[in-house]
């Protein structure tokens, strides 16, 4: 199972972290991988901290437990950095991707000395510029694909175009915006430490 990648998502109820984890599972599935995508269900309500998980592997995934030592962590809402230990168990060879406008210095203090790579993206800006509304999950999905290298970017873009066409069959007007958000996010995500 050395080839298995484990990802933990932190978000707030209503931001689509669970949906993003599912979309990631879908995209990886479409490239021929074995996948798991599951949320940790708690008392669900808008705004409450939620956790979701992905496992992606070239071989069958048999383990059925939450992820405690992830390779990657995605933080969809940076207000969680103050209340949730987002780097708990995160491998230092891995990375954390945060939706934030904070800089590397500010994040260092919040991440309790995490030694691995830190990436940021302003998903609000990407979302507002491309969709006109705040939906952070599409930019964050693109960011984690870029950072983790789970699949080739062009394969991912092509696959997502198909998914969006399918998903938004009744709302074709949002397909373009989501594709733009995806492509812009692939460019915007940057390493800050």
């Amino acid at each position: 199972m050395s080839n298995m990648i484990e990802i933990r998502w932190h978000g707030r109820g209503g931001q689509g972290a669970k949906t993003a984890s599912l979309l990631l599972a879908d995209a990886a599935f479409n490239t021929g991988k074995y996948i798991q995508g599951f949320p940790e269900y708690g008392p669900e309500r808008m705004g409450a901290p939620i956790t979701a998980y992905n496992r992606i592997s070239d071989t069958q995934i048999r383990i059925h437990s939450n992820i405690y030592e992830p390779d990657y962590v995605v933080v969809v809402d940076d207000t969680l950095l103050e209340s949730v230990d987002v780097t708990a168990g995160l491998k230092k060879e891995g990375a954390i991707v945060i939706n934030t406008t904070k800089d590397g210095e500010q994040l260092k203090k919040l991440l309790k000395g995490y030694e691995g790579k830190v990436y940021t993206i302003d998903a609000r800006k990407v979302s507002m510029e491309t969709l006109g509304k705040y939906f952070p999950n599409t930019p964050m999905l693109a960011a984690i694909v870029k950072v983790s290298g789970i699949m080739k970017e062009d394969e991912f873009v092509k696959d997502m175009e198909g998914s969006f066409k399918h998903k938004f069959a009744k709302k074709p007007e949002v397909i373009d915006g989501n594709m733009k958000a995806l492509k812009m996010a692939l460019e915007e995500v940057k390493q800050v430490s």
Partner: protein, 432 residues
């Protein structure tokens, strides 16, 4: 062809793919193992989606259900299949689970094929009718998504719901994965409806852990399922005008005992029927099923016995320990009722120590239900292996690889002693 809005509980992705025949050319021919016919459809579904898909392909005459977490999605998806005309099923949206089981009983008695789905307190509310279903020898099939029975209120996974009906005369199959939940449901009717059996059957899977996790699965084509499951032609049924009969009358001292004996005999017969159906299923899919699965058990020194999703985690731990030279093994119980006591005792006879993991506490101070069955089976079959009971995963407490490893480490110590000390143990329990 109509397209359904196939929604997952945590997404709005349209999952019409799995039903749209035009897209079934996405079949991967090499994904099944060595079956006679290796065509299957590579998909990714949650356990609930897998169960609903199986029900759609089975296309039963009647489905009666009432929503309850975490099985709610099954009737939810199924009702969309009904609404979109993808099945011929009469869907009865009842006002309670007691009524759901009653409606299934009425439908089966009339001569129809009936299915339902529930969890935890839903099953509790059915309890009275659960016994009536088996007592009337009606081969109803239920998808039970295992969840803790309240109280205090908890919506997460354990096996207390299933354990509560273990003596009700239902065949009980447990499923490690979404794949097994799907496969077990496809085999269910042929087992339950067999003339030598005629008993209701429930297919269990772990609530949330598999029911709400999207994972890879291999589906069969609709036509193959239809052919495999076959049509239901009961010998005796209420709507047969040529054979007027009464069902479920009073049954007092003169006959109830004999009828219960017949149920027990039917349960014994089910064992061979389950194996026969599994053999046919393997021919079609390449996936083999027995009464239980032995994973690296043949030469094991220490072994864990468990059911459902924990078995997958245990397999990974077994492999890791084997790399360290520790001969660990797993016995995963698939058929819990009828209980394969003799076969399990035989399969464990060579190991030096066994841990039986129960995801429900019998609260009797003497170990969980599976533990009691396994040890009773060993005793009766003259197998003496030190065996410990572990209660774990209650109310959705996550069970990690490290915890499973700790059980094997305990067993290594136990295997060096003649007698097991403190046999009634807990795993993952906070002590402070």
């Amino acid at each position: 062809m109509k397209r359904e809005q196939y929604t997952n509980s945590f997404s709005n992705i349209e999952r019409a793919k799995i039903v749209d025949k035009n897209e079934q050319k996405g079949c991967v021919p090499n994904c099944a193992k060595k079956g006679e016919d290796t065509m299957s459809i590579r998909e990714r579904l949650s356990g609930n989606e897998a169960a609903a898909t199986a029900m759609k392909q089975i296309n039963p005459d009647v489905v009666a259900a009432f929503p309850i977490t975490p099985s709610t999605e099954i009737p939810q998806y199924f009702s969309t299949f009904v609404d979109n005309g993808m099945v011929d099923t009469e869907f009865i949206a009842v006002e309670s689970e007691h009524s759901a089981m009653s409606a299934c009983i009425g439908a089966e008695a009339a001569g129809a094929r009936a299915m339902t789905a529930t969890s935890a307190n839903g099953l509790s509310l059915m309890w009275e009718m659960v016994y009536i279903a088996s007592g009337m020898r009606l081969p109803i099939v239920m998808s039970l998504v295992n969840r803790a029975v309240s109280g205090p209120l908890n919506i997460h996974n354990d096996h207390s719901d299933a354990m509560g009906v273990r003596d009700s005369g239902w065949i009980m199959l447990f499923s490690e994965t979404n794949q097994e939940a799907y496969d077990n449901l496809l085999m269910a009717h042929r087992i339950a409806e067999n003339e030598k059996v005629q008993l209701p059957l429930m297919v269990c899977q772990d609530g949330f852990i598999t029911s709400h996790s999207i994972e890879n699965i291999e589906l069969l084509e609709d036509e193959k399922v239809k052919e495999f499951v076959g049509e239901y032609h009961p010998k005796h049924y209420l709507l047969n005008a040529k054979e007027p009969m009464a069902m479920g009358p009073m049954d007092l001292q003169a006959f109830l005992f004999e009828h219960k004996y017949q149920q027990a005999e039917a349960m014994k017969n089910a064992k061979q029927v389950i194996l026969d159906v599994a053999k046919d299923f393997e021919k079609m899919t390449g996936r083999s099923y027995g009464l239980f699965e032995e994973y690296k058990l043949e030469d094991a020194d220490i072994a864990i016995v468990c059911m459902n999703s924990t078995a997958g985690t245990t397999k990974d731990v077994v492999d890791a320990l084997r790399e360290q030279g520790i001969k660990a093994g797993l016995l995963k119980v698939r058929v819990f009722r009828p209980f394969p006591a003799e076969e399990i005792a035989k399969a464990l006879s060579h190991v030096k120590a066994v841990a039986v993991l129960d995801k429900a506490d019998s609260l009797n101070g003497a170990g969980g239900a599976l533990f009691t069955d396994v040890t009773s089976g060993m005793q009766t079959n003259n197998v003496t292996v030190p065996t410990a009971s572990y209660i774990y995963g209650i109310g959705g407490r996550d069970t990690t690889s490290k915890e499973i490893e700790s059980v094997f480490k305990d067993l290594m110590k136990d295997s060096k002693k003649d007698k097991i000390e403190n046999p009634y143990r807990y795993l993952g329990l906070r002590k402070e």
